[in-house]
Symmetry: C2
Subunit: 340 residues, 2 copies
Amino acid sequence: MKPRITLKKIANEFGVSISTVSKALKDSHEISEETREKIKAFAGFYNYKPNSLALQLRNQKTSVIGVIIPEIVHHFFSTVINGIETYANEKGYNVMVCLSNESYDKEVSNISVLTNGSVDGLIVSLARETQQNQNFKHFEALIKDDFPLVLFDRVKDDLACDKVIIDDVGGAYKAANHLVEIGKRRIALLTTQDYITVGSLRKEGYLKSLVKNDIGIDESLIYKIDDKQDLYEQIKKVIFVKNPPDAILAVNEIYAANALKIAKERGLTIPNDIAIIGFTSGLISEFTSPPLTSVVQHGFLMGKQTAELLINRIEHTASKEYQKEVISPNLKIRQSTLIK
Amino acid sequence: MKPRITLKKIANEFGVSISTVSKALKDSHEISEETREKIKAFAGFYNYKPNSLALQLRNQKTSVIGVIIPEIVHHFFSTVINGIETYANEKGYNVMVCLSNESYDKEVSNISVLTNGSVDGLIVSLARETQQNQNFKHFEALIKDDFPLVLFDRVKDDLACDKVIIDDVGGAYKAANHLVEIGKRRIALLTTQDYITVGSLRKEGYLKSLVKNDIGIDESLIYKIDDKQDLYEQIKKVIFVKNPPDAILAVNEIYAANALKIAKERGLTIPNDIAIIGFTSGLISEFTSPPLTSVVQHGFLMGKQTAELLINRIEHTASKEYQKEVISPNLKIRQSTLIK
DNA sequence: AAAAATTCCGCAAACGTTTTCGTGTTTATA
DNA sequence: TATAAACACGAAAACGTTTGCGGAATTTTT
């Protein structure tokens, strides 16, 4: 790579000082018009751009936001990043993306790398492992130093920082109510292992709905899927039973789509024999047949709000108190729950 | 945010010079063990980390890779980023992601921002607008300065830089051949507007296959979809005709999934009445019914190779010549082309 | 006891920028 | 003609780090 042109080189070219060049390029009245013009012409010709690192160091500000997410090949997370990027860009920030790959160690090391001065603030969604081992020392250290930090989606409640979450309880509640309204009583829940916060919150909404609708809770209808094992086989055990449920609420799109596929394999008609709803973030639900009714999550909005909270923090326009913003999901009704 | 601890502060604490502190922390033999230990203890206690900006400025190296893609809410691009991130991380680099949103202006400004010293190299996939207006001045400027640059997927051939592309011609060729093999003759092509390179390359493969299989080319079977208009209506015109095609080759997943949906609406059986293949990058094809045969694109591998080329460039371990790596897509056969 | 070697540390430059303050020269004012 | 003002520019510090070199003090060698 060719060495970039600097103020010093321009200064040498004209036999003036660095400060003169700097001022000339900023159209300072301190510099004569003649000098100004020739310096600007020269700089323009060589496409001079101030070195960003030098500026960042001097101004003690990078205008970069660090984002750490568990994975990026995931419609929900990429949608959130899109929201973050959009808002951040409007405000003159760039985005540095790091992946924890659900690993605690990677999350810790990402945080360590990003907080060495290269970003002004951090947006994080917790790795699965972190949620599992409940070790938050790396975040507590940040908080102790008042480092601008916003958690989204997968958060830890007692950490003193801004948070943006989906109303998972409400979403599951709405979805389960909908299933009851179309006449279903034996509603199975396909959820995650307990330590995944969103999974247990959605379970909470599901239970709340059953109680409200005077439907007894049948623990045998609650299936905790293990993501590390074969999905298909696990979900098969939900449907290939003597007396299958008449509805399924799945906490994500993949579970729902698999359930749909398996139900059809068993010859059940949808939604009459069995209705299915999934939490969604992607496009799968739209293209299954029948298309799946879904709880949609507004990832873009979430990203924007997350970025907004963070930038307010960075620029000290935030209130002293930490905020927790809750985004309500929508129920998008499609044919998998549409009884004629 | 609390001010971070610096060498200077540690130096003041012990009444020694900054260089002494720096050396002590690096276990230099120039510093007495006593001084070394107390400085290290103090630094450790306050969790000292060298300021990355200062290091970057001094070393003239950021260890950051800039990535500019048209959009991120897209399975293919997020998979590529995943590959880039994985490889870059192994090599000690971080990744800064910017979105052009298919806009020429945004692409130009992203490049301008990223090349002001904040990244060591750039990975780009061209915005749609850039492909349209064929203006590559911003890249030519980079190339003139020998700035490390790698283009992937949506590339411009005559730019003098490394490139990684999918063998789109070969992929479409394979796919069309497969359709012929299962007995189809009236194969419609759902492609993009001409200026999208991948669209026209896939068209090329399609045509090549027809020629090879002695099937006459019927221009009326080639549909150029406009992404800015309603997909559903456009694709409807392909299938709701007097004499619909007996197969469809779609240049992306969404076109294919829509075609499938519409074909079913028209009461056609798949694959007997009409077989469908799509280029894919996402999960939709797996969950449609029947599942769609797809040309799969190996985005992760693409990302890794792209990052590898770039880092070799940055670290001068690359050969003088620019490389063009071609990744062959696979044909994943599913029920939409499986004739019993 | 003198010379040489070793130990321990500080100075200063370098990376590239901005900005305050100072200074010498020219021009305008009294 | 002396003084004040205006003009045009430079020096230097600051952001935080690394590192070659020099030097004082101590220790070892001859």
